[in-house]
Symmetry: C2
Subunit: 266 residues, 2 copies
């Protein structure tokens, strides 16, 4: 048993799709969420800068005595491959997403969508090929998806058009599975599904990482909270923004956060 | 006479539209440009964070011995109203843009487009009303314009559609002048002009601030470089990115930068 909370971090709002999934799957676990909104987005930044910011976020959560850290941000995940840092278990979304895609794919032709940094890192391609060298991966950077999701235009005709634009090439490769390789993208799932149709399975990070956590809880690699525990969710951001809070409440629904506060990482 | 360079800073790529204008207008002046690409964009951040980042950028350029600083970023400009800091002249784009809009407007019905932070600050509205209390100002935040410009979709049907979406309300107020209150927006000028038509005058920050600098050179408030001087342009960013360099070369054309380098602000 371990009553400490699980830390979750993201560059901003997108990781709340992961937090929501985890909070629903593990109703007795508590969570500390850190959104680095003062420095978002990570997806347009260099590998070096993304690693530096991620380490600062991890150190910050470590000081708050979390029992594990989930890197909800795909872009940050590409730069933190380690399964633990100084004894603290670290879960990044790349492995779970790659494994889940291979589980659901029949043709082993897998598409990956992500930020420019995530796609440039080739993290998903490498992970998928490591797990199954017979698979083939086609990827596509979609830099406008994050701002569209942040703007809240999730089922808008403009969004459908932009989704179509980004996906038209990838869809010519007869993929049967598509990894939504950015935590913001589940917010655009309706528009994406409208373009991909029902024959392509969409894999999202929140569901995939929840399966990994459940596996580690079952194997006692990670201590569970007592079944009687009341779930506590605290959301911290590095910048204040009414727009963020409003979007956060909308994304998390029906999950409720106990506290919102602004923190300084230094 | 003053042979020191002029410092120009922006959150990223957008301020290059201002740098280009200044470099063409003042062919004997040298420029040090700082793009804070590791922390861009500023437009979605809080006033407090924007002020903090702006001060760090100013201190950095001051240490490089510039004779004046142009804050090319509209969002940063809203948080630095001072005309000088520790004796160093500071030019922000709000005053020049507001004044220019009032000069070209007949009806004194003026529209302002900007990032969420710029519009929330009401900096343009207040400045315009200070200069002419009979004027009326209608503003609109356009959070998707920056990512569209950064993606390079400057004359794309999708961009036309998004421009139409953001502008449809503002256009019902019979404005005759529209301030492009973000240095990225001139990159979308074709799409914006297609929606506004020829009866609305577009005011952009680069042209407006160049007029102010010329006024201060003429009045000897600012020393000119010798007429024989060779223009030197150095571009510094806080993060490395091949995409940035590629976009920078495209935006600056026909102006040529002598050097690109990555710097650390600390």
């Amino acid at each position: 048993m371990d009553s400490r909370p699980i830390g979750v971090f993201d560059s901003g709002i997108g990781g709340l799709t992961v937090l929501k999934e985890l909070a629903l799957q593990f109703p007795h676990e508590s969570f500390l969420y850190l959104g680095d909104t003062a420095r978002l987005p990570y997806g347009s930044k260099s590998a070096h800068t993304i690693r530096k910011y991620s380490e600062q976020n991890i150190q910050f959560l470590k000081r708050l005595d979390v029992k594990a850290i989930v890197i909800a941000c795909n872009t940050a995940s590409t730069q933190v491959p380690e399964p633990e840092l100084e004894g603290l278990p670290i879960y990044n979304v790349i492995g779970p997403g790659a494994q889940r895609a291979l589980e659901v794919s029949h043709s082993k032709r897998i598409g990956v969508l992500g930020t420019r940094a995530t796609i440039n890192s080739k993290a998903y391609s490498h992970k998928i090929m490591d797990l199954d060298p017979s698979a083939s991966v086609i990827d596509q950077a979609c830099p406008l998806f994050v701002p569209l999701a942040e703007e809240g235009w999730d089922s808008d005709p403009v969004t459908n058009l932009i989704v179509f634009r980004y996906l038209s090439q990838i869809l010519q490769h007869s993929i049967d599975t598509l990894i939504l390789g950015c935590t913001h993208y589940p917010l655009l799932k309706n528009s994406i599904a409208r373009v991909t149709g029902s024959s392509i399975e969409l894999v999202d990070s929140g569901e995939a990482i929840a399966r990994w956590l459940e596996r580690d809880f079952s194997k006692n690699r990670l201590g569970r909270n007592a079944n009687s525990s009341h779930q506590k969710i605290e959301i911290m951001t590095t910048d204040s923004s009414a727009h963020f809070t409003e979007m956060a409440l909308k994304i998390l629904k029906p999950v409720k956060a106990d506290e919102f506060k602004v923190v300084d990482l230094n």
